[in-house]
Symmetry: C2
């Protein structure tokens, strides 16, 4: 199931003395930035409602099993809506929920940061690897 599901959003707790996180964004990371969730949400966001196979094809390298797992998790968290059409052959469609769309600005800002600073990270890595080897 969920990797670290012990975290419960307890509103009563004071500024997080939670076990492994002294920060309030730990739980969000688990929810939104788990292993495959970001590509899934992004694909659903850009291509709208689509079927299981479409997701499978667009998100390369993901296996159906994992795709199902993540999709279930996102559905459970209310970020994705799953619609089952009892036809032959069966048809299932996934889309971002209204609640899931509240992540829009966040993703946009994230994408913007990526566009502006990703190469800086790359430079930092090369610099580190270059003279970091000599220590």
């Amino acid at each position: 199931m969920t990797v670290a599901d012990e975290r419960k959003g307890r509103p009563a707790a004071a500024a997080g003395t939670d076990p492994e996180l002294a920060c309030p964004i730990g739980p969000v990371v688990d929810i939104v930035f788990s292993r495959w969730t970001t590509p899934i949400l992004w694909t659903l966001h850009t291509h709208g409602r689509q079927r299981f196979v479409e997701l499978e094809r667009r998100i390369t390298r993901i296996t159906p099993k994992v795709l199902t797992q993540r999709l279930r998790q996102l559905e459970r968290d209310g970020l994705v809506v799953r619609t089952y059409h009892p036809e032959v052959p069966p048809r299932v469609e996934y889309e971002i929920s209204e609640f899931g769309r509240s992540l829009g600005p966040l993703f946009a800002q994230l994408a913007e940061w990526a566009a502006q600073n990703l190469d800086t990270v790359e430079e930092a890595r090369q610099a580190y690897d270059g003279q970091g080897a000599g220590h």
Copy 2:
């Protein structure tokens, strides 16, 4: 939210198509939202420059080995600055780099989303678990 819509033709870092992501924020997630990086960056952000043990104590449950690994990664990516003081006993201090501070607004927005919507997620989970089990 269509900020990065036009930069889809971004050349991949390595050769070929990007492995696991049809989305431009995949790499950022790896850099910023890896396993322990969020608590580390948050702690460094809120408590300023501090030593290894301080980080170790504040980020509960993290082992020194993993803390070192993540710290090295963050240093390599240019988000964290490591300062070694050749004393006896040795003293090492960590702080967020200038570049790392560019993540500030992002974290703020993330924290805000968490504060507003985390209980919604919890409700969705309970609803899902409640009647999802009977299905």
